[in-house]
């Protein structure tokens, strides 16, 4: 009984701290908008209208949320194993390249085979791109952060080369490949008032699988043990390196899937700079949700709304959409200091509880 009483306020704090973080971020952004001479409420109004104002807007938001959520799952999976994968962006681009190649050059297959082949190719490319950092980390103990950041730059430049060179499309004025074959396109769920592909179903499906894997399987249990205390896991005979390599490769595969879904669904062709940094968006979201896949879905929806809504805000209210970068920056800073916030909010709840008892 006693332990339950002690636990409750802590749990409250745990669920509240993401809300806390978002509120503080909004407050800070409001001050900034106010300082630039605009009214924050106007800005938020246009942002909300732009993101959720009508069903077309809502669909755009969901479309943006799909690749972000997949990137978030990728981050969550590796961080559950105790590895911080910051190379999602590179793996995502590589996955997109892979599925574009499969979508362009494999011919004669029916859609129900061709599409999965393209998606799997994308995942393989993503995993492959994570293989070199993983091998260097496990075998040589190379700093993953540094190598991942470099791999991200390489992937970005490689993408430019691919769409300007070997895979250049017939229209020489656009840095893009040709449109993939019809059998490789993600089918639409809705086409009016706005197009929405089955990407959203893929994302929800992956969330369920991921949650189930992490919490309900023996292998997921071992993965969490590696992430929580790799020394204790090693002392228990769990093959920590094996799990960490596996998690990094699977994380790369999920990032590759994010790239594939974006390319085969939204654009149906590979553009240069097609990703506005979805891979980086995944990081704060996964952390905000402490790796919970359903929390990531919500976070991705929020980030998608920010991206879509800010365009409307810029068009209608003339407030720079760069404010989204500020919001993300503040979020990341706050997440990095979330231990302080958790502590403070648990103190507040404890005090309230005490006052209530007295």
């Amino acid at each position: 009984m006693k332990s339950k009483q002690n636990r409750e306020p802590l749990n409250w704090a745990k669920y509240f701290s993401p809300v806390f973080i978002i509120l503080i971020t909004l407050l800070f952004t409001s001050i900034l908008i106010f300082a630039t001479g605009d009214h924050p409420l106007t800005a938020y109004k246009f942002m909300i209208v732009g993101a959720f104002g009508n069903s077309a807007a809502l669909i755009s938001t969901i479309n943006k949320a799909v690749p972000i959520s997949l990137a978030g799952f990728a981050v969550a999976l590796s961080s559950k194993a105790g590895i911080f994968n910051i190379g999602i962006e590179g793996q995502l681009i590589f996955g997109a390249i892979g599925s574009t190649i499969a979508g362009l050059f494999i011919v004669g297959l029916p859609a129900y085979i061709h599409l999965p082949v393209c998606l799997v190719t994308g995942m393989l490319f993503g995993a492959l791109y994570a293989l070199l950092p993983a091998a260097l980390y496990v075998k040589k103990g190379v700093n993953l952060l540094v190598i991942h950041i470099m791999m991200n730059s390489i992937a970005g430049l490689l993408l430019t080369y691919v769409v300007m060179g070997p895979l250049m499309g017939d229209n020489k004025y656009v840095s893009a490949t040709n449109i993939v074959q019809d059998t490789a396109k993600l089918p639409y769920l809705i086409t009016t008032p706005n197009k929405m592909t089955i990407g959203v179903l893929i994302s929800i499906f992956v969330a369920c699988i991921l949650w189930f894997y992490i919490h309900k399987t023996v292998s997921g249990y071992m993965l969490r043990a590696c992430g929580d205390n790799s020394i204790a896991a090693r002392f228990s005979g769990i093959k920590v390196k094996y799990y960490q390599t596996g998690a990094l490769l699977a994380s790369g595969a999920l990032a590759g899937l994010a790239g594939s879904v974006e390319v085969l669904g939204t654009f149906q062709r590979l553009y240069d700079n097609f990703s506005p940094g979805y891979g980086f968006d995944g990081i704060p979201i996964a952390m905000l949700a402490s790796g919970n896949p359903f929390g990531i879905l919500m976070g991705a929806f929020l980030f998608g709304a920010l991206r879509v809504g800010s365009i409307n805000m810029q068009a209608k209210a003339g407030i720079s959409s760069e404010i989204v970068s500020v919001i993300q920056g503040v979020l990341i800073t706050l997440i990095a200091s979330q231990y302080i916030i958790r502590f403070a909010s648990s103190r507040i709840f404890n005090r309230r509880k005490k006052e209530a008892q007295e």
Binding site: S3, T217, V218, M222, A225, D228, A232, R234, S236
Partner: protein, 513 residues
Amino acid sequence: MDIAVQMSGITMKFPGITANDNVDFEVRRGEVHALVGENGAGKTTLMNILYGLYIPVAGQIKIGGKEQRFQSAIDAIRAGIGMVHQHFMLIPSLSIADNIVLGEEPRQGIVYRRDHAAEKINELCAEYDMKLDPKALVAQVSLGTQQRVEIMKALYRQAEIIILDEPTSVLTPQEIDELGAMLRKLKSMGKTIIIITHKLKEVIDFSDRVTVLRHGKIVSTVKTGETSADEVTNMMVGRSVQLGGHKTDITLGKAVLCVNNVSYHDGRIEKLKDISLTVYAGEILGIAGIDNSGQKELTEIIAGIRKLDQGEITLDGKSIKSVSVSDIKEKGVGFIPQDRQESGLALGMSVKENLMMGYQRKPLYRYKKIFLSKAGMTKEAQEKIENFDIRPDSPDVLARTLSGGNQQKVVVAREISNASRLIVADQPSRGIDIGAIELIHQKLVDARNSGMAVLLISLELDEVMLLSDRIAVIHDGRLMDILDAKEATREQIGLLMAGAKTKGGGGCEKQTK
């Protein structure tokens, strides 16, 4: 009588706990005063307040009758207080003289007069009848000598009151005797000494009075001559204590673990040198030795976590030297590692999940082979929680929220209940309350009574002597001798711990010859 230290109404709070609760503590000039209590009773906190490291929430400190408000340790040192911490604050690469004068060097202009420092230290040594070579490097002298250096550091700063935090924990029995003689000498010179310890037995001979702390409160202050170690232990815990478990007579079985001529080095340091020993079914083999003599490496090699350089290890006659950790577990070896938080538990996971860690292969924990069986996990966890009295009794709380003793019980429960042949326990009672120690002792003895082999490592000689059937003594990675626990004396073991004599070990081949 002349009062050297008077602390009254001291209260100190940390988030969530009250470490000292309205404590009145008094030390007379020229006495050796032992401050005893269990881990977490608040004795170190109280002394840190006296030394100016913490500022109390409430209370008053008088030194020699004069009220003091220390803002930092510097104020306390000025008031004539010196403290020797449990973990020495010395710089190994500097000489003894340099360490002693550090911060208060004798100088001429900007030049450090090393010769003056050495002279001064020689004078002090002569005065207090201590043996120290000012030119020797700290890295090259024993822990006992390092402790003398720390005491000399306090004397050099003209301390009148010297606080020693757990001074016996790093010493062999002989060194403890030497420490006693040194403290008596300091006392005769009019110094006041406060010893913080949870092992009263070791200081009962040379302390005048004892103050017992429990849960941050003073229980009582008594004259050492009018009490006994057992009585004080009962005061510390608040009830009578039965350590060591109940051993039953059991005939020794065959050899379970054989360690033959094992050598190991970590980096450039030789950790184990040609170690041989055998543990039989139905016995507890205790390994005595001062800290860092290679015990940790030996246990981790047996558990398969480290791979040995030379030699052979067998379990039930079969080599396990290149067998994986999980296969060794499967052969019935339980391993209680030295540091539960570092290598025994995943603190962010639930008690239930920690209780199965390393044994997740077992069908009991699985549902259709790849899924976790929640029912199996919960049932098993509840059984262990009940058997080992783990509190709170919920399988779903995070391991992080448990107290040290209960965290240790989780590790012990997991390893003992899954082991069938051998238990390797590295300091199973380190830093936990007496209630938990009692239980863990009983469980280790139960395992022995049921015919398992137990290899016990402890830095506390009392624990080794209490539990073991045979005692192996290790010094600097070398096995000194193996003694029968019934016949061995503290002095004998102490000499071996200090490296007095060498003799081979007791590997399997040697014993069958």
